[in-house]
């Protein structure tokens, strides 16, 4: 059936901020969908609150609404844009839930808008566990025995039926949020209690335990003609019990016979048919009992999922793109396979390589959190690697994580095999390395299997890797045969070096002298049966390479690797923009990255894609392969975050041209002494500071400049290890805590700065071409200095800075850019305290805020930066229309205000005793994503940002206030206003007394730690009787109370303010939410408004 002619416009719902369980894979899928729909001549309307995405580029839709994804907002967009249909299957659970709300509120019917991609009925069948269970049984498959419960009594009653351990899964949550295993009644009450709370339908599913079973996933697609294909099978190396997002996974499945695989395929097809997914994709998870093959269907998602993104990258079959085409009426056989171009999409990809995905965790950011892996997803990113066999793909994937200790090693090991086997019983980050160590020290595969239930085949592969290591180590010399053997199984030069007690560069030199280089194979969907026209490559050590020579001028762009806190989709945005801009400028663009969730690893983003680890070895080899033809103009390193930047020096030493700011200049900004010189020359001030490589030095500096001090390791992103230290005792404690991470030492010292209390923090993103500075945007943080810029909300344009102050910031940035020798992007952080401007730090690279600036002001900084790097001047870029004539300091009065708000993952992290970790903000970044609120004034924009972040401000209700003594004077005014607006005010005794003295009617409430009969504040929050919480941290005695309050708030999902600055900023926003619904405006309209104002 050809394209439907009745659909002229489609509203695509995005997935909102990056959160754990829902990351940039939905930017990838949404971007593909928008592209496809526009190619088909359909008007695309997009709503997504996340500015750090490619899809929200105004170029990808006809009307782009960076607005909160709420039913009210979407209704306003529908009224304004009158779309024929809504496509909700490419924006994760967020979009699907939004679509269901629109249906339930009658909005779809009211405006006669059709849901495409998945019907309401199909969504319900897939997500409602009771309906789904019946459907699976009807399809002739099995399910785990289970009980649905809506109350705690029902939960407890289920124990008789199911016994312990029992699985608890809340309905309608994403990423398995709130799921867990209960081993006893205490566990059960805790997990099910939280689950009932987390489920929008107050419903949990309780199941028999299938812990330790093998876990598989199938990605399927089906069209209106009932044609169904299985795009990919994925096998989890970690057995059932670890969320699939936290498991090491492999594609294709490797331990199934055809009979067993076809059984899963048959079940999958029956389910997708019965659920009624008829214009798109779905993902089905299976558990298989390894002892007898009994198959249980765990769940299905009637939408594009994280696994779909992985499957797309793993096979070259673009699931999201095809899902979008199916949604508008095409059938699979009408859609050509992009890669072969001669065969249709109605086939099943076959792989002649192995794909391994490994998760990346961020437990170091949440020291109090329990690092045990469960059915609740906790990883913040992932890396994928492709090899010609499993051992090669696995080792490549592990080194793609760029994390100390994530690769297999054969160095000193203080624990015994028995201890390691014992440790491996509990799934945690890095268990695979523990297993490798245990096997290496003599644990048997059987012991490891008993401890982990990892399939013996995967265990044997690690045995094999250890045997190869042994051969490498004991070989008389590191010859051709030995190196080949190592490379065959994915050993890096660094691993070979450590096994042979050589340096990595020695190994590389030997290898090159023997003429041993990787070859590059192609991901072609068909195992070589048809020629591939898409250069999507991976390395291996074999006979034949498939890199096609080209005579073009080439630019290599280094991506940012797996997502982590502090380095996420923002950097992918910049890399993708550079690729687009450089391609338009006539260069052949070559992307290297290993993150399957991203747009940059889409095979049609760049001219050539190398899915490779971002290590010096792997990058140098790609460059060598590409240098065999054409002209390598250079490598872009300043857009891929610390990952790419960290490779600059090594590349330069290998004689590779680096585009833009030189590696020496990059060092200049990081090297405190040199940087001070630049500031001195420019007459700029930094807070008093020093550098230390050990505790003694740090103590000396702190004594000299005075506490409090801000400490941070150099060469890190996301404020890793960054803290405010108030006294000597805390400094000692700090060194104790971070010792194990190896963040400080000679060559990478600790920076110790005087901490500026009560200062306003400012961020600036700018472009420098060697002559001229072009400001992208000046952003004012809402929180005071001391909160990491990534976790702080900020506004663009600034709302309290004077024109004079902005000019000082501009000038200072120009001096710094000139002093460093920037060619391309620079981000500088300033603080203004008592009208004195201090430089906090400068980073000559793309910052996290580049996409925010481009969405807020329409200035595409990353594109312009990439052109500056290849020699264009700012003047030329302005003349050529690449940059608006007025830079980011020239914002006409009355322009819209954009507010960026961080989204934090506290709800994902529980402590060992099952309580949420503390949600206090600090200098170390912990947010996973961001949203943007944009409107005519700050209060409305801020209110929108809060709604987009998932904690809408209430129009009425109860507000609880408990603030530290130092904050008490500042809290009076805001609270008075809140009371005038009609909110009921609760406060703890101390705070209440002060408020009463100022004539504010307040009800006193018992502290959690004080004895008493009436409910404490924590009880009230738990019972949902408090709507907004204001709690600023104070001295140690009250700390425990503060923590209890914040943990309860996290559990109850209520708005919380932990700084007075935030609260004061929000007061106007409370007024705005009371005033009525938000108006919506597209980025395209904002751009027209801005142009009109500039005249």
């Amino acid at each position: 059936m050809p394209k439907r002619s009745d659909i002229k416009s489609v509203l695509v719902i995005g997935s909102g901020p990056i959160v754990i369980g829902q990351a940039c894979e939905f930017d990838y899928s949404g971007t593909q969908a928008c592209r496809v729909l526009r190619e088909e001549g359909i008007r695309v309307i997009l709503v997504n609150s996340n500015p750090a995405t490619i899809m929200t580029d105004p170029d990808f839709a006809d009307a782009t609404y960076v607005e909160p994804i709420t039913p009210e907002i979407i209704e306003s967009i529908i009224i304004k844009e009158k779309p024929d249909a809504i496509l909700p299957t490419l924006g994760g659970q967020t979009a699907l839930n939004a679509a269901m709300s629109l249906h339930e509120l009658g909005i779809l019917d009211k405006y006669n808008v059709e849901l495409i991609g998945a019907k309401v009925d199909a969504i319900k069948k897939g997500e409602d566990r009771q309906i789904f269970k019946q459907l699976v049984l009807d399809a002739g498959a099995d399910v785990a025995r289970s009980v649905i419960a809506h109350t705690m009594d029902e939960v407890i009653a289920a124990v008789d039926v199911l016994g312990y351990p029992m699985v608890v899964r809340p309905s309608f949550t994403m990423g398995g949020l709130g799921s867990g295993f209960a081993y006893n009644e205490e566990d059960l009450r805790r997990i099910a209690g939280a689950g009932l709370q987390a489920s929008p339908t107050t419903e949990v599913l309780l199941e028999e335990s299938i812990l330790g079973w093998k876990e598989y996933e199938l990605e399927l697609m089906r069209d209106t003609a009932d044609n169904t294909v299985v795009v990919c099978s994925i096998e989890n190396v970690d057995p059932v019990g670890v969320h699939t997002g936290d498991s090491i996974t492999v594609a294709p499945a490797l331990t199934l016979t055809d009979r067993e695989f076809q059984n899963l395929r048959d079940i999958g097809i029956r389910i997708i048919r019965d659920v009624g997914v008829d214009t798109g994709g779905c993902n089905i998870q299976f558990a298989v009992d390894p002892s007898d093959g009994r198959v249980i269907v765990i769940e299905m998602n009637p939408r594009v999922s994280r696994s779909s993104a992985l499957a797309s990258k793993a096979t070259g079959f673009p699931i999201a793109k095809i899902a979008a085409k199916l949604a508008i009426g095409y059938t699979l056989d009408e859609i050509p396979n992009d890669i072969t171009r001669v065969t249709p999409a109605s086939f099943e990809p076959t792989l002649d390589y192995i794909v391994v995905k490994v998760p990346r965790f961020a437990f170091e950011k949440f020291p109090a959190a329990d690092a045990t892996l469960t059915t609740t997803m906790k990883s913040v990113g992932e890396a994928m690697a492709i090899g010609r066999n499993y051992s090669q793909a696995l080792q490549k994937a592990l080194r793609s994580l760029e994390k100390k200790g994530s690769s297999f090693h054969w160095g000193e090991q203080t624990k015994s095999a028995a201890e390691l086997v014992e440790i491996s019983k509990v799934p945690t980050d890095g268990r695979i390395v523990t297993v490798q160590q245990a096997l290496r020290l003599g644990a048997t595969p059987e012991q490891v299997f008993e401890a982990t239930k990892i399939d013996p085949w995967f265990i044997d592969q690690i045995v094999l890797i250890n045997e190869v290591a042994e051969t490498i180590q004991s070989a008389p010399e590191l010859n051709d045969e030995v190196i080949k053997l190592g490379k065959e199984h994915g050993f890096s030069d660094a691993q070979l070096a450590s096994l042979r007690s050589l340096s990595e560069s020695d190994v590389r030199a030997i290898r090159h002298s023997l003429g041993l280089r990787p070859v590059y194979k192609t991901v072609d969907t068909c195992a070589g049966e048809f020629p591939a026209l898409t250069p999507y490559h991976y390395s291996t050590y074999e006979q034949e390479t498939e890199v096609i020579p080209s005579d073009r001028r080439k630019v290599v762009i280094l991506g940012s690797g797996p997502n982590r806190i502090g380095q996420g989709v923002e950097f992918d945005y910049s890399c993708v923009h550079a690729s687009f801009a450089l391609s338009d400028a006539g260069f052949e663009t070559i992307m290297i990255n290993c993150n399957p969730e991203t747009v940059s690893t889409d095979y049609d983003t760049s001219d050539r894609l190398y899915f490779e680890p971002l290590t010096l070895e792997d990058v140098l080899e790609v460059i060598h392969a590409e240098s065999q033809s054409g002209e390598l103009v250079g490598v872009v390193v300043q857009l891929g975050g610390q990952t790419a930047l960290g490779l600059a020096k090594g590349l330069k030493e290998a004689g590779i041209p680096i585009l833009g700011t030189s590696p020496e200049a990059i060092d200049l900004a990081e090297e405190r002494g040199l940087f001070s010189e630049i500031l001195d020359n420019a007459g700029l001030l930094a807070p008093a500071n020093g550098i230390a490589i050990n505790l003694a030095e740090a103590t000396e500096i702190a004594g000299r400049i005075g506490y409090p001090v801000l400490v941070r390791p150099s060469f890190v992103l996301g404020g890793r290890g960054m803290e405010i230290v108030y006294d000597q005792h805390s400094l000692v404690d700090y060194f104790d805590r971070i010792a194990e991470y190896g963040l400080i030492g000679p060559g990478y010292p600790l920076l110790v700065d005087r901490f500026l209390d009560a200062a306003i923090e400012i961020d600036i993103d700018a472009l420098y071409d060697g002559h001229e500075l072009y400001v992208g945007g000046v952003m004012e943080h809402i929180e005071e200095a001391g909160i990491h810029s990534g976790d702080s909300s900020c506004t663009l344009p600034p709302i309290t800075l004077s024109a004079g102050q902005i000019e000082r910031v501009r000038k200072a940035t120009e001096e710094i850019a000139k002093g460093i020798g920037v060619r391309g992007l620079i981000n500088v952080q300033f603080a203004i305290a008592s009208d004195v401007l201090y430089v906090l730090e400068a980073n000559p690279r793309a910052s996290r805020t580049v996409p925010f600036v481009s969405k807020a002001l329409g200035i595409t900084l990353a594109k312009a930066a990439s052109l500056v790097m290849v020699g264009r001047t700012i003047r030329e870029l302005v003349a050529g229309g690449h940059l608006p004539p007025a830079d980011g300091t020239h914002i006409p009065a009355g322009s819209a205000i954009a507010v960026k708000e961080a989204v934090l993952p506290f709800k994902r992290f529980a402590t060992k005793d099952g309580r949420f970790v503390d949600s206090l903000l600090g200098p170390e970044m912990r947010s996973t994503g961001e949203v943007m609120g944009m409107d005519v004034d700050f209060p409305t924009a801020f209110a929108k940002s809060q709604a987009a972040a998932g904690t809408s401000l209430p129009t009425s209700g109860t507000i609880f206030i408990s603030v530290a003594d130092r904050d008490k004077p500042q809290v009076i005014l805001p609270v008075r206003r809140l009371q005038q607006l009609g909110y009921r005010i609760l406060a703890t005794e101390g705070t209440a007394a002060i408020l009463e003295r100022h004539g504010i009617a307040v009800e006193s409430v018992r502290k959690h730690s004080s004895p008493g009969e009436q409910p404490s504040i924590v009880d009230l929050i738990n019972d949902g009787k408090v709507d907004v919480i204001v709690n600023t941290p104070s001295g140690s005695s009250a700390r425990k109370d503060g923590y209890e309050i914040r943990a309860a708030t996290t559990a109850a999902d209520k708005a919380i303010f932990t700084t007075i600055a935030q609260l004061s900023a929000a007061i106007g926003s409370f007024e705005k939410v009371i005033d009525g619904p938000f108006e919506v405006r597209s980025l395209q309209q904002h751009a027209l408004d801005r142009a009109a104002k500039l005249g």
């Binding site: 003609a225 009932d226 044609n227 294909v229 299985v230 099978s233 294709p252 490797l254 331990t255 199934l256 016979t257 055809d258 009979r259 695989f261 076809q262 395929r265 048959d266 390894p290 002892s291 007898d292 093959g293 059938t331 699979l332 056989d333 001669v342 065969t343 249709p344 109605s346 086939f347 099943e348 990809p349 076959t350 792989l351 002649d352 390589y353 192995i354 010609r388 066999n389 499993y390 399939d455 013996p456 085949w457 044997d460 094999l464 194979k521 068909c526 195992a527 070589g528 049966e529 048809f530 020629p531 074999e542 006979q543 034949e544 498939e546």
Partner: protein, 378 residues
């Protein structure tokens, strides 16, 4: 780890390690793209005379078991894999693949660039080759190439006698008997028989040399020609037999080689494909329903039908429809006679290995028999 060589008739040599039995073997080198089902592939008689290259890198992970055998032995002439599994991991496994290959004397090779080999065969077409291990691996390459070039070509080769049953046998229907099918065994797979008996058909399996009278001796409800190896042009006797059967208006169904023989019986030509279809992911369009099925293929020859979706049988059997086509390359994948009760498909509805999408073709046999009975009674 002893060295082994794969030598192609065009002089290209791939070096790897010996796998399975040591020694030497000659055959037509073909690649198979299925990611599962190596055991079914090895025991599929259609692969007789061929050296099979698996494009999936890991082979042998799940061992072998008696349930998944498609015939009583391993038929491939040689076996080429990238990574042979060191261990076996599957609850149904009874032995390792390595042992199985040794048991049947299959000379194999592992550890070579199978993708380069596949691309070579794709670009130049399948060709003869040899696997040499043990002493022979050290012989001069020219000598080995010469040996390969002296091997028989698949084109013009008749292999039916090699793979067919020596004597007739009967397999009873499961449950209530619906009817009886006479099968000409040209290399039949166990799954084909299972699919028939599961539908209430008693099957009588005859040697490939059986004539029409023998096939019709029990007055069967239908005659079936199985899959099998070799060049259909060499099967003139079986084609004549089929023409006799078609004249009796006995319902007929053919799979793979059986499809090619129906094509020839109807008067069409068959031809050799450049590198054939061997995999379990092939999209085929069923023209009757407009639906696409993902199917298992294993064929190097195909039927040539020109002049539209419906043409007259040059041999005078009335109108013939091309019922199924490959969506990858438009190769004829199925024939359906309009005026006589006969149909066939080029691919494998019995799957094993492969998806079960086209299982319905066995239901069509039941339908055909029913309709034929009704017509006879009318």
């Amino acid at each position: 780890m002893s060295k082994a060589l794969l030598v192609l008739e065009d002089g290209k040599v791939f070096t790897g390690y010996s796998y399975g039995s040591e020694g030497q073997t000659l055959g037509e080198v073909v690649f198979c793209t299925g990611m599962t089902g190596y055991q079914e592939t090895l025991t599929d008689p259609s692969y007789a005379g061929q050296i099979v290259v698996q494009t999936a890198p890991h082979i042998g992970n799940t061992g072998v078991n008696s349930r998944d055998e498609e015939s009583s032995k391993v038929w491939v002439a040689g076996y080429v894999v990238r990574d042979a599994s060191r261990i076996v991991s599957n609850f149904r496994s009874e032995d390792s693949l390595d042992n199985e290959l040794v048991k049947y004397g299959v000379v194999g090779i592992r550890g070579l660039d199978t993708r380069a080999l596949t691309r070579h065969l794709r670009d130049r077409g399948v060709m003869r080759g040899g696997v040499f291990s043990g002493e022979k691996a050290n012989a001069p390459v020219e000598e080995l190439v010469a040996e390969v070039q002296s091997a028989k070509k698949m084109q013009g080769l008749s292999l039916s006698d090699v793979v067919s049953t020596a004597a007739k046998y009967v397999v009873a229907a499961e449950g209530a008997e619906f009817g009886k099918v006479a099968i000409l065994d040209l290399g039949i797979k166990a799954s084909t028989i299972e699919n028939m008996t599961a539908r209430g058909l008693e099957v009588h399996v005859y040697p490939a040399t059986s004539n029409a009278a023998t096939l019709l001796e029990t007055n069967p409800d239908a005659v079936f020609y199985s899959n099998g190896p070799g060049d259909p042009e060499t099967a003139a006797t079986q084609v004549e037999t089929l023409q006799e059967i078609l004249k009796t208006k006995t319902p007929f169904f053919g799979i793979c080689f059986g499809n090619q023989l129906l094509g020839r019986a109807l008067g069409f030509e068959t031809y050799k494909l450049a590198f054939g279809h061997r995999g379990i992911n092939q999209p085929v369009l069923d023209r009757r329903t407009g639906k696409v099925e993902v199917t298992a293929h294993n064929h190097g020859f195909a039927v040539k039908v020109e002049g539209g979706p419906e043409v007259d049988s040059p041999a005078g059997f009335g109108r013939v429809k091309v019922s199924h086509v490959s969506l990858n390359d438009d190769v004829v994948e199925g024939l359906e006679c309009v005026d006589i009760p006969a149909y066939s498909v080029q691919y494998h509805p019995e799957a094993a290995a492969g998806p079960h999408d086209s299982n319905y073709l066995f239901d069509r046999l039941i339908e055909l028999i029913s309709n034929n009975r009704k017509a006879a009674n009318a």
